[in-house]
């Protein structure tokens, strides 16, 4: 075992070893191995493993050094100083490794961690999708249960090292009915599986470090599930927190699971806070108010189009607004009326419902933008609408469209904005 429990001694040892062996290393390429350097990078990882510098903070049982995250941080600094890569690639040694250390079964750890530390297994990350970018909650890749495991179909993009990877860490939606971040699972994908196709993405720079990966009914066995089924968001958040920690080239969080749980806990806390503040208290405080109601009309409400083309659509049951209204503690009237989806509802129906709150979308990004106030004023002044409670009592509320239409964290932002406005009525 290289190094010592003492950080300073560990640093001296690392620097000495690097000074001697840096000539055998590929140039420092950062977090992603350029495709042409994969073989030297694998050899370098093997050399690091043989000398005991691979995974200093990983448990000894998993092939690591059994030291602390601080030791790993020192190793990263010394490698950076020497101008050599600290490991083969970030996806394998930080993300996949971190996820397996935090959430993997004994079998998974035994299967994957050793080969990864020895540079025998290159990993790629299959998170981003063409439609969702980095917004993992809007993930579209589907994993349908199929006997022992799942059948996965979808498309992933901005996958680094997809062409040379042996395995990938994959996020797929295992529960299509669950809310945004609840139905996702974290899977390990053997890139040699039938149905996996990798195509390089040509970048503006002329190179192509990234790939698109097409998954066409790829079978993933149940043994490849990391963490709880449908609980992949937590695993991913923990893993990505790892990545962020690394990109700062500072400390590494081996307590990644805790970080992921913390991220989820923060969201849950915000939802819980919404629940405690629900306008139920408002209802008892203001005797005349029987129920707090909300309706959306997601028409564009600029002055001219509103007059000529006032056909309104209401966001009823099963829409993101239904969840937003529920989180904010409002009753979505059209949902209660038995409607579902985005439904064209007559203006006279909207007036007859006479909700206390009418939520419209604001074309601006932030709620204090003057465009939101203007949208509210214009909407409230529409013929017929001006008689409603919402229009009379400032209950027409414009929420930025990006939050109102969000399927991720923006939903909570929308609910918070909405609840704050309703409570201030």
């Amino acid at each position: 075992m290289a190094g010592d429990q003492d950080l300073d001694a560990f640093r001296v040892d690392a620097a000495a070893w690097l000074a001697e062996h840096r000539k055998g290393a590929p140039p420092d390429y950062g977090a992603i191995v350029p495709p042409e350097l994969v073989d030297p990078a694998k050899a370098w990882q093997r050399a690091l493993f043989d000398a005991g510098w691979a995974g200093p903070h990983w448990p000894v049982a998993d092939g690591g050094g059994g030291l602390t995250p601080d030791h790993q941080a020192v190793w990263l600094e010394e490698a950076a100083t020497a101008g050599v890569p600290p490991f083969l690639n970030m996806v394998g040694l930080v993300l996949a490794g971190g996820a397996l250390l935090a959430f993997g079964t004994d079998e998974q750890r035994a299967d994957h961690l050793g080969p990864t530390l020895r540079g025998e297994r290159v990993w790629c990350q299959l998170f981003s999708e063409p439609g969702s970018g980095s917004d993992l909650a809007s993930l579209a890749t589907r994993a349908v249960p199929d006997g022992d495991g799942w059948v996965v179909s979808g498309q992933k993009t901005w996958c680094s090292n997809g062409r040379v990877a042996d395995w990938g860490i994959l996020l797929a939606r295992t529960d299509a009915d669950a809310a945004a971040h609840r139905g996702i699972s974290f899977l390990l994908l053997d890139m040699a599986s039938p149905g996996v196709e990798v195509r390089p993405i040509r970048q503006m720079t002329g190179g192509s470090s990234f790939d698109e990966v097409f998954l066409d009914e790829v079978h993933v066995p149940a043994s490849c599930l990391v963490g709880p089924e449908h609980g992949g968001w937590g695993v991913a958040m923990a893993t990505l927190t790892n990545e962020r920690g690394h990109i700062g080239a500072l400390a590494i969080a081996v307590d990644a699971a805790a970080a992921g749980e913390q991220a989820i806990a923060e969201l849950d806390a915000r939802l819980a806070a919404l629940a405690t503040r629900r306008p139920a208290t408002l209802r008892s405080a203001v005797a005349a108010v029987t129920a707090v109601t909300a309706v959306t009309a997601v028409t564009a409400v600029t002055a001219v189009t509103a007059v000529s083309w006032g056909d309104g659509y209401a966001a009823t049951g099963g829409t993101t607004f239904a969840d937003i209204a529920a989180a904010a503690g409002l009753i979505n009237l059209p949902e209660q009326a038995g409607l579902s989806g985005h439904v064209p509802v007559a203006m006279e129906q909207l007036v007859a419902w006479d909700p206390q709150v009418i939520v419209i979308s604001c074309p601006a990004a932030l709620p204090d933008d003057p465009a939101c106030a203007a949208a509210e004023t214009n909407f409230a002044a529409r013929p017929g609408l001006s008689a409603t409670r919402a229009a009379r009592d400032h209950g027409v509320i414009a929420i930025p469209a990006r939050d109102l239409g969000s399927t991720g964290e923006g939903m909570i932002v929308a609910a918070e904005l909405l609840q704050a406005r309703v409570l201030a009525l």
Partner: protein, 334 residues
């Protein structure tokens, strides 16, 4: 029987309007609706604000606009049929509505409607007139009805294709797509007194022109040569009839979207009651057209909470009728 039915039909429009006012959400019956209107005329005390908003701001202008546009489309149908001396001619079938729609879609693409509410009706009227003029240019008196209908069909398809092309080119503009889609279904949803105000002038001018042309149209019915020998200036008649149809179809299409088959359905019904003379045919067709659209829109609002497009309902009624007429009459000359 013909003459006895005509006065009776005068009662139909008020009855249809009352039905429209008493139909829809909010538990507002005909009595409450009448009371609300009376309060606006200073004849009764004002009722609850919501009822007032629903009846006076939403239902009444909507019903009146439906009536006006029904009358306009029916008269445009009578004019077109008189002009081509053929009962199967109809602005919708001949592509005139498609011409109005294309002009309006191009207007939407360039945001022309932001210059004022009058722009879209004007554009639609120009588009409708243009298609009609092209048809008249292509049409010779001796040609068969098949040639006329197929020419109109081809022009209509061409207009629709260009409109679709415009939509495809502007596909990233979601608002444009949804607007055109709603519009092509036809709707009176959200129309207010302002819309009624914009619809009135072109419709009144169009209806007045039609009334003015009724004698010449009667004479034309006897044939081009006879009409010419009886002193009808055919060129002038055509020009005025085209202007009238353009104004009527343009205003109707611009303000309520595409509502098909009214111009075919109603003149036939009216002709069965009043006979072919335009003096009686025109006002009766206008009246029945108004009644039809008011009833159709009431039906569209009454069936579900979800708004049904009235243009779909008129097509559901009109298309089978067209097939039935084709089968009964064939494509021969009138």
């Amino acid at each position: 029987m013909r003459l006895r039915l005509a006065p009776l039909s005068l009662l139909l429009l008020p009855a249809a309007l009352l039905l429209a006012l008493g139909t829809g959400p909010g538990d507002i019956g005909v009595g409450e609706a009448l009371q609300t209107i009376a309060s606006h005329l200073g004849l009764a005390a004002p009722g609850p604000g919501l009822r007032d908003a629903i009846v006076w701001d939403l239902r009444l202008p909507r019903a009146l606009l439906a009536a006006l546009i029904g009358a306009a489309l029916a008269c445009a149908g009578v004019l077109t049929q008189g002009l081509f001396r053929n009962p199967l001619a109809d602005p919708g079938i001949l592509g005139v509505s498609a011409g109005a729609m294309l002009a309006a879609v191009i207007g939407f693409m360039f945001g022309a409607e932001h210059h004022g509410l009058w722009v879209t009706p004007l554009l639609a009227a120009a588009g409708a007139s243009l298609v009609l003029l092209i048809l008249l240019g292509l049409h010779r008196a001796q040609q068969s009805l098949a040639t006329l209908l197929l020419s109109g069909f081809a022009l209509g398809t061409l207009c629709a294709a260009i409109a679709t092309l415009c939509l495809a080119l502007g596909a990233q503009r979601w608002d444009l797509g949804i607007r055109v889609m709603q519009w092509s279904l036809g709707s009176f949803e959200g129309r207010t007194w302002i819309h009624l105000g914009w619809a009135l002038p072109p419709c009144i001018i169009g209806l007045a022109l039609a009334t003015w042309l009724r004698r010449d149209l009667d004479t034309l019915h006897l044939g081009h040569d006879i009409a010419a020998s009886l002193g009808v200036d055919l060129t002038r008649l055509r020009r005025r009839a085209v202007l009238a149809v353009g104004l009527l179809v343009g205003a109707a299409t611009a303000l309520s979207g595409v509502i098909g088959f009214v111009g075919l359905l109603v003149p036939h019904l009216a002709r069965m009651i009043s006979g072919p003379g335009h003096r009686r045919l025109l006002p009766l067709a206008a009246l029945l057209g108004a009644v039809l659209l008011v009833l159709v829109d009431s039906l569209a609002r009454a069936v579900t909470t979800v708004v049904l497009p009235p243009g779909v309902l008129t097509s559901l009624l009109g298309a089978p009728l067209f097939l039935w007429l084709l089968r009964r009459r064939g494509l021969g000359d009138p």
